[in-house]
């Protein structure tokens, strides 16, 4: 496949997803309300150091928004019967999945940017490195959108099944990734758990950009996020390919 056709397929798939799945008012409202509720639940009324809490909060916001709709797109398409029509266009499964990833990442990054700007204007947040913040935002958005696409790979036409799986995998990560307890303060066993969570590396990358309380060396978080993205994508392609016929 030549470069131009590949990029065209990816962009049109992403554009289609944004228009059909992400631009719906309930999705946007949920995307904005979720971080607000998280902030109220975890920050208000507690004497937390904002410099230590905010990077984890922003990572949590990006994590949930980027991976929220992606797991549902393929099951929705299968259920509506549009999946076969989509695959009959000049695209292949990789093009469709990258399109899904881009759409999820754009949604997650946009919502989290609104959260970041609002908090930056309203709260005393010290941004240490804007380039690092931007890079972390992009890497995290892509990584967790790819996780969303991986979660969409089981051969089911029922979005509720995927929702269950998605919640089962995503929620526990919040508690082991250095959001509420910094990695340096964790017990050793807990720290090993944190090492296997991709969210840990986004939290740490945000610490590099905001406040400067990072645990890993600068750049390590971004490299590991990239590796997680590659692994998620590779597995997602294999499973989507294997289950494609079941979803037609």
């Amino acid at each position: 496949m030549i470069y131009e056709e590949f990029l065209r397929g990816v962009w049109i798939t992403a554009e289609k997803n944004i228009k059909i799945y992400y631009k719906k008012p309930p999705v946007i409202i949920f995307g904005l309300l979720f971080p607000l509720l998280m902030f109220l639940a975890f920050y208000m009324g507690r004497e937390l150091d904002l410099a230590l809490f905010f990077p984890g909060f922003l990572a949590m916001s990006l994590f949930f928004t980027s991976s929220s709709v992606g797991p549902l797109v393929t099951p929705w398409e299968r259920q509506a019967g549009t999946y076969e029509r989509l695959l009959s266009y000049p695209v292949n499964i990789k093009v469709v999945l990258i399109g899904d990833i881009i759409a999820g990442a754009i949604f997650g990054i946009s919502i989290s940017s609104v959260v970041l700007i609002a908090c930056w204007l309203l709260l005393p947040i010290q941004i240490v490195s804007i380039p690092m913040l931007v890079l972390s935002m992009i890497s995290g958005g892509i990584a967790f959108s790819t996780l969303g696409v991986l979660l969409a790979s089981p051969a089911t036409k029922a979005p509720s099944n995927i929702m269950m799986l998605s919640s089962l995998i995503r929620f526990p990560l919040v508690f082991i990734s250095g959001i509420f307890i910094l990695i340096g303060d964790m017990a050793e066993a807990m720290r090993y758990l944190a090492y296997i969570s991709p969210l840990t590396y986004l939290v740490d990358s945000f610490h590099v950009g905001i406040g400067g309380n990072n645990y890993f060396s600068t750049g390590i978080g971004l490299v590991v996020l990239f590796l997680f993205t590659a692994v998620f994508f590779f597995i997602a392609v294999q499973i989507h390919k294997r289950n494609m016929i079941k979803g037609l």
Binding site: I12, K16, I20, L248
Partner: protein, 307 residues
């Protein structure tokens, strides 16, 4: 004549089930080809392999000379596909769906802006262009579905049971549209289990049964292969027992409404007997016509009658 669609030793197995078994055929450019078979015969699996949607276990497929397994994107650019279960996006309007399809086929905005109104007019839906598809009937959605497949004016069009479940008007419109495409030189590959449709539309048909291609020829030739199955259709006014008509020329008598269908290997003798029978009893013959062997009969013979 140049070949538009080619299958070469296609096979596909799902677990223990052989869905398609060593199927080979060619469809010349511009031909209206019908792919017939009972439900579960392997029609959809074959079309999905031809269109590059699924990979065969063995064999090769070509669309206008492009290997649709090795280079599915370029092969897909040369075809339009109307999948049996493929829907369009009901949250988008008719115009948005057509624009989306056009973008996937690499059409520029200018080309799409010219082509989309043309398609809507062709589909008799020019006034519904900006309405979301969820407000459309099944027939209207199917017209847009076809529009999405032909927006780029493809040289080959695949249709998988395109009239299934449609009302009479929509069915007629869809058939007319396909015929128009054929007149413009498009190669049509139609899968159906509607024999009448295939008989009326197709220049050549292939019949698949249990994954194997059992016949491929012009409908007329397939019909004549079974020359023993000629029949006479008659309606006779009067009360009588069907057994009274039986003789050694008659293979089977079927009653359908007020008509009798008599399958015979000697039409002449059977017609004369019928007239004599009615005359002797002063029954009125309301209608009497001889029927050649039908494609349906050929199909049933080739695929096995399920009773």
């Amino acid at each position: 004549m140049a070949t538009a669609v080619e299958a070469e030793g296609l096979s596909k197995r799902f677990a223990e089930v052989v869905a398609v078994d060593e199927v080979s055929f060619q469809v010349p450019r511009g031909q209206f080809f019908g792919f017939l078979g009972p439900n579960g015969a392997g029609k959809t699996t074959t079309i999905r392999m031809l269109t590059g949607l699924i990979t065969p276990d063995s064999g090769r497929t070509f669309i206008e000379g492009v290997d649709s397994q090795k280079d599915p994107i370029h092969a897909k650019m040369k075809m339009g596909v109307i999948p049996e279960f493929g829907n369009i996006y009901v949250d988008l309007t008719a115009e948005e769906n057509l624009h989306l399809a056009g973008k996937f086929y690499g059409m520029s905005k200018k080309e799409r802006e010219k082509r989309v109104p043309e398609i809507l007019k062709m589909m008799n839906l020019e006034r519904r262009g900006n309405h979301p598809l969820r407000t459309f009937s099944k027939g209207m959605k199917q017209r847009i579905n076809i529009g999405c497949a032909i927006i780029h004016d493809p040289p080959v069009l695949f249709l998988d049971e395109p009239t299934s479940g449609l009302d009479v008007q929509s069915k007629r419109l869809v058939v007319r549209l396909i015929q128009k495409m054929k007149e413009r030189g498009t190669t049509i590959f139609l899968t159906t289990h509607n024999i009448q449709e295939a008989n009326e539309l197709c220049e050549r048909v292939g019949i698949i049964n249990q994954g194997k291609l059992v016949a491929i020829d012009k409908p007329e030739k397939l019909r004549n292969t079974f020359d023993k199955t000629q029949s006479i259709e008659t309606s006779i006014e009067g009360e009588f027992d069907l057994e009274m008509l039986e003789n050694h020329h008659i293979n089977k008598i079927q009653r359908s409404g007020d008509k009798l269908k008599i399958f015979t290997d000697d039409v002449d003798a059977t017609v004369k007997n019928l007239i004599r029978f009615a005359d002797d009893r002063s029954f009125n013959i309301i209608s009497l016509r001889t029927c050649g062997p039908s494609l349906e009969e050929a199909f049933v013979r080739l695929t096995g009658d399920v009773e």
